[in-house]
């Protein structure tokens, strides 16, 4: 088979190269001993990393992004969990409409989400802060949280929940002792992926952040100064590596959960 369709494999390898090579220039030049981002490479250095770690503004922006990402991820998952349960377990009138509304943000350009929330906040007189950024991020995280959680909820046997209710557990205790542990891989994966969506977002934060910069806003500000580029590259390389690790972990948890489900169905 491989010999007959070898060209597809070759294509796939080129495709992966197309995805990864352009981005690989960031880490490559982050170790280059020159302010100019150009060939030939002039020598190895870690000074850009040292400069970045010494920069208080980077630390502040990183801290802001971590805070916003954590709160948005927890909020989106906390909203998504009951919603996913309702949509997979009960026939709810209007359930489809709520799901469509929650997924709507995928089909609206980010700039429109950003300016429309900006208008609402200014009409209400709410000052811009990291909280308003978090609100915007909950909206864009929700579709991911709900999708991941719904597929997990679809995966396990609802008889387990019914058995718990029949054995006299309350609805709340059933949720904590049966539903939640079974949904846990989905919950973790939803938290991680929502965090990534928030951590990655530039445009919504750009409109809603006021004076507090998140990491992408800080990077955007630095791009205007050519002599700052190597430090941005160092920062970017770290972000790329950290997010790749996080994504692999999130997907691993999710697929591990899926295997788990097959075992359960088989038993």
């Amino acid at each position: 088979m491989k010999t007959r369709h070898g060209w597809l494999l070759v294509y796939a390898i080129f495709y992966l190269a197309f995805l990864y090579v352009p981005v690989a220039f960031l880490p490559l030049f982050s170790f280059n001993n020159s302010v100019f981002i150009a060939f030939p490479l002039s020598g190895f250095t870690t000074q850009w990393y040292a400069q970045m770690f010494a920069d208080g503004a980077v630390q502040q922006a990183l801290f802001n992004s971590l805070k916003v990402g954590a709160v948005a991820a927890v909020a989106a998952t906390a909203l998504g969990l009951p919603a996913a349960k309702a949509l997979t377990r009960y026939r709810v009138p209007g359930g489809g409409a709520v799901l469509a509304l929650a997924n709507l943000s995928l089909f609206i350009p980010e700039i429109v989400l950003g300016i429309s929330l900006l208008i609402l906040l200014s009409v209400l007189g709410v000052p811009l802060s990291l909280w308003t950024v978090t609100l915007g991020h909950i909206v864009i995280c929700a579709p991911f949280a709900i999708t991941v959680l719904m597929s997990r909820m679809d995966g396990f046997d609802k008889n387990l929940e019914e058995a718990s209710l029949d054995l006299g557990e309350s609805g709340w205790m059933t949720f904590w002792r049966v539903t939640f542990p079974l949904a846990l891989p989905g919950v973790i994966s939803s938290l991680l992926l929502s965090f990534m969506v928030s951590f990655d977002d530039f445009l919504i934060a750009y409109f809603l952040a006021g004076n507090d910069a998140t990491l992408p806003i800080y990077i955007w500000g630095q791009l205007r100064f050519p002599d700052k580029l190597p430090t941005v590259l160092a920062l970017g390389a770290l972000i790329l590596v950290a997010s790749a690790v996080l994504v692999v972990f999130a997907e691993w948890v999710r697929s591990h959960g899926l295997k788990d489900r097959h075992r359960m169905v088989g038993a």
Binding site: L19, A38, L101, I115, G236, V248
Partner: protein, 298 residues
């Protein structure tokens, strides 16, 4: 069991009624989405009918902002360019992604998970950095120019690489590549393999089999991928700002200006509404054309 106070009765009704339970569980999501997504969109629509008088807002309804948005030639040109660029990006990404998704769905057997992870990592990693990488690559003193010069292939840096619509198309096609794979992969993976065997048994060659079975059955994924790329890229701000130059400006750049430097929010709102309407119309036309084409193949 049948007796009990009002509280107990409500509890019992709640336990028994799926609809009531479901609505209670959905209400937090619904509340947030109404407050932070639906309400802002309604306000945006309202603003587009208002006027900015210096620092004050004139809430007398008028179509003046739409007249400006659609009437001014420079804005019209931006609408056309944004849609053209996004359509081209959509076409390129979907065409490039299809064989890749096909490979993972039909040829990879054991390491599907690894391939899918490799293809989705870029999807989740910093969009801003992926776009910025292209500025480094295409720049006057960038990776390509300095690379070719140090190899002795060119003497002068190539000037046509950065700051034009082509640079925007290339960058967007790369930045959104991962978005096209998953929907197409999912629809290919769903295809019942016995249909393919049946087509082969009935004497269809591989090409005919692909055109008459695989391709039509995977069209929902292709349409999904196309919409998922076309709609957000028309409103992209980062890419035209970083690599577009003055020739590669898109509609989002002028919308941003109205909310930033210019301070004419109603005009910005009207530009946003008009661009969403234009994108909506193009998307609907595209989807119905694709559906019609799929029906004809069958």
């Amino acid at each position: 069991m049948a007796e009990g106070g009002i509280g107990a009765r409500i509890t019992r009704f709640y336990r028994r009624s799926e609809a009531a339970r479901g609505l209670v569980l959905l209400s937090p999501t619904m509340a947030i989405m109404l407050a932070a997504l639906a309400a802002p969109m309604v306000l945006l629509a309202l603003y587009s009918f208002w006027t900015q008088d210096g620092y004050a807002l004139n809430t007398h309804a008028t179509l003046a902002q739409y007249a400006t948005s659609l009437g001014r030639p420079s804005y019209r040109a931006l609408f056309y360019r944004s849609i053209e660029i996004s359509a081209l990006v959509t076409l390129i990404t979907v065409l490039l992604a299809y064989p890749m998704a096909y490979f993972v769905a039909f040829r990879v057997e054991k390491q599907k998970f690894v391939w899918l992870i490799l293809l989705t990592i870029p999807f989740w990693t910093s969009y801003l950095l992926r776009v910025f990488a292209w500025k480094l690559i295409l720049g006057y003193n960038g990776v390509i120019n300095s690379g070719l010069m140090s190899l002795g292939l060119i003497r002068q840096p190539l000037e046509f690489l950065l700051y034009n619509p082509t640079a925007v198309v290339v960058t967007l096609a790369h930045a959104w590549a991962a978005f096209a794979i998953l929907p197409i992969y999912v629809s290919l993976e769903k295809i019942d393999r016995s249909l393919l065997d049946a087509a082969a048994d009935l004497g269809d060659g591989p090409v005919r089999r692909f055109l008459r079975v695989t391709l039509p059955l995977s069209l929902p994924g292709v349409i999904g991928a196309a919409v998922l790329i076309f709609v957000p890229t028309t409103g992209d701000y980062v890419t035209p700002s970083l690599v577009g130059g003055s020739g590669g400006v898109m509609i989002a750049n002028v919308i941003e200006e109205q909310f930033d430097k210019v301070g004419n929010w109603p005009l910005g709102a009207a530009l946003a509404m008009a661009s969403m309407a234009a994108v909506g119309v193009v998307t609907l036309l595209f989807v119905s054309a694709m559906r019609a084409a799929a029906a004809r193949i069958r």
